[in-house]
Symmetry: C2
Subunit: 450 residues, 2 copies
């Protein structure tokens, strides 16, 4: 695998052509860009912020290496003095951001970057790439956890996630949002996430008899066996698992569970549960997998289908019903002048901002207010923190476990109608009078519609 030493050129060419023009026209003043999501995908009423840690590491390490400079030189598009500038370029700006694992809503800045405009512009592509992916998956995963109604959910998405990086980030983002483990061994190693998994259909079919496969497996993993029972006939498989469980019990061992991965997952769980219960094996757990998403999980929860936990793969790992966010990174201030874009359907909020979150007397989330950064709303919780100052990380980065705990603590304070899997209610997000006024002023100067 060819791996990239420097990620700095993981950017759109136009970032560099714009940078050269800024340089040649001596427009080097500080700019502020704001990253936000313009609309909810279908059935979404909230977002889970994620991806900040990778953004901060990228910004701290930003450098265009010499092979990158050589490549750009070979394009005959750039002036030598601009390439000299690029060669020594570091990211020296400030970043304010909503911490990972916090809830965020439409139009709220996930992060704001203030830096000399060349720096702030070149890093756009990477920042969007990571925040989009990780927040997208954290949001989808939170929906799965919510729909599972207390049952454990684990990540099986690696094989159909979009590439290597996505496989890793899906494991991290889903764990952050309340999943209890991942099948991805590398993610376990990298992020300290519990790893899970026992056997596949190929294992069973490599033996001439299903029973031989089960016996071989429990001999290797007597304390940790989930038998996959649907390779040939799920109910026959369940009866074989009963036999195995009884053999194990005679040896003082206990079969942990069985997994069903195909067929009518609702009906089969009920029948398999009955087979185990009638055999006095109430402790044997049933794990469901195979094309599941939050819509299935919500149906199973309502119907009280007797699954103990779920493996959720592809549809979570690609956020199948909404595989991208309408996310944007927009210039909101240049050289202390608030800036606005008026393109149809893409109007932005000018100036440096803060988001204030308010709770009611019971501690439930009540509403957010998007305001100018210098505003203060007494009693409200300001979401954006200054996480980077002059190119250096300015906070202690929380551990993944802390982020996960923070997420789960806040998520339970979001009301159920907003968390609904289908047609959620909308969470109130207001704009402060000062920000509204600023947008009107800037809009008027531009002769635009607002």
């Amino acid at each position: 695998m060819r791996t990239t030493n420097s990620l700095a050129l993981l950017t759109d060419l136009y970032q560099l052509t714009m940078a050269q023009t800024y340089f040649q026209s001596q427009r080097l003043d500080p700019a502020t860009f704001s990253l936000f999501i313009r609309s909810y995908p279908p059935n979404r009423g909230y977002f889970v912020a994620a991806g900040l840690q990778d953004v901060l590491e990228f910004l701290e390490q930003f450098t265009v290496d010499s092979t990158g400079i050589d490549y750009l030189h070979s394009r005959r598009l750039f002036a030598d003095d601009f390439l000299d500038l690029l060669k020594g370029l570091k990211f020296t700006g400030d970043v304010w951001a909503i911490p990972e694992g916090r809830l965020a809503f439409k139009d709220e800045p996930f992060l704001e970057v203030t830096a000399p405009i060349i720096e702030a512009q070149i890093v756009e592509t990477f920042i969007i790439n990571q925040v989009n992916l990780q927040s997208l998956i954290a949001t989808k995963a939170a929906r799965c956890v919510h729909a599972a109604g207390g049952r454990a959910v684990v990540d099986f998405a690696l094989r159909r996630a979009h590439g290597i990086d996505a496989g890793m980030k899906v494991a991290r983002a889903s764990y952050l949002a309340g999943f209890t483990g991942t099948s991805n061994v590398r993610a376990g190693q990298e992020y300290g996430i519990p790893i899970v998994g026992t056997m596949a259909h190929s294992f069973v079919s490599s033996f001439e008899q299903e029973m031989d496969a089960f016996r071989a497996f429990i001999a290797s993993f007597p304390n940790n066996s989930i038998l996959l029972i649907d390779t040939y006939d799920t109910l026959a498989g369940a009866r074989k698992a009963v036999e195995i469980a009884k053999e194990m019990a005679a040896n003082g061992q206990q079969l942990q569970g069985v997994r069903i991965d195909s067929g009518d997952l609702k009906k089969l769980a009920i029948e398999v549960r009955r087979i185990f219960d009638e055999a006095g094996l109430k402790s044997v757990k049933i794990i469901g997998s195979g094309g599941l998403d939050e819509f299935d999980l919500a149906d199973f929860t309502v119907a009280d289908v007797p699954y103990d936990s779920y493996g959720v793969g592809t549809k979570m790992g690609v956020s199948a019903d909404a595989p991208w966010f309408d996310i944007a990174y927009k210039l909101v201030e240049y050289d202390e002048r608030p800036v606005l874009k008026l393109s149809t359907g893409k109007v932005s909020w000018p100036g440096k901002k803060q988001v204030f979150r308010m709770r009611d007397e019971r501690g439930q989330l009540q509403k957010d207010v998007i305001a100018l950064r210098e505003e203060n709303i007494p009693g409200a919780d300001p979401l954006l923190q200054k996480v980077m100052a002059s190119g250096e990380v300015a906070v202690r980065c929380p551990t993944l476990e802390e982020i996960r705990d923070n997420f789960m603590g806040e998520f339970k304070r979001l009301s159920d109608p907003i968390k609904a899997i289908r047609n959620p209610a909308s969470y109130p997000v207001e704009i402060s009078p000062q920000l509204t006024k600023l947008r009107e002023e800037v809009g008027r100067q531009l002769g635009g519609p607002e």
Copy 2:
């Protein structure tokens, strides 16, 4: 960014638990696994094979490094002698595969791996991950190229592709399928793909006057300027671009084009074209972008909307209408015994296979036949090549340009109804009598439905 030295542990935990059981029960015989797609997503009638090069590099370099072994040891799940085996494990098997850029259809093996079962099993997850992503995007990109009806299409997907690896592979896969360039600078450097792009809305809005932004840009790139004209008012932007083009003409320069990225893209293109034509600027090109996919492009082609080229981003880069394939890697033979899986809706074809492609007298693709590998169909083109022998790459890997040429050569021989963007006709894929017979025999032995 934490980068992975070894990708060997980018696998599902169950691959390793199964491997330990194979090891402990001394099941070390060769197995053959077959990778195929079980069904077409909506509106798809063909696939474009891609991802093989990364698979071959992964297999050649496969090794579990010492930090990986230490991590697995810490899980207290694996026996020491198994971890010793894992430490020295290399991939020593054979791979047969359909070359990248060739068309493939439902149920056809994209590749088949024959190796000692532990090796063949552990590499499953990575192989699916890469072939799924790259074939998915190559297929989506081919649809865009076809829909554009001869107009150039370039990749703008990096920012919303799912992570770093996806951003790179989307650029490669879309170029392979006929795109003419990418905005992704790193992909240009890595793969030699032409890079494209000029300016964003933020560039325009950082200037107090749109005209100043345009003038600054053409001063830096007099031979290569595409002005983005929709930051405030697209038609007013077009009139300013006319003024710029006339100023340039007075200096012996030529404005290359303008880009429209929002609003009613169909209507605006017609009006902008008229503005340029009336000003005698027929050579100024119009580039369309902003949420486009193959459905939009097909509509524009039918209506002859006057775009000269398109930038296609998010919806191509995540294959938005079908963000994953129903792709599987199934055991088809173990220790020379053909193997079958009978799970509901997931029946597989046993044995080592070959796919034969037949053309009619005009050279048009006529039908494919999935057969046993040892079969021979005179006059037909066998698609799977032996690309790896005993763990070493056994062919000269084609360059990306060669793959792209091969794709375009074959794609034009696929009939239009099968290439239709909506409700395509189905391409005939037959099963050879010998393979049909083998499946019946194996099914009977298993007492299954077939």
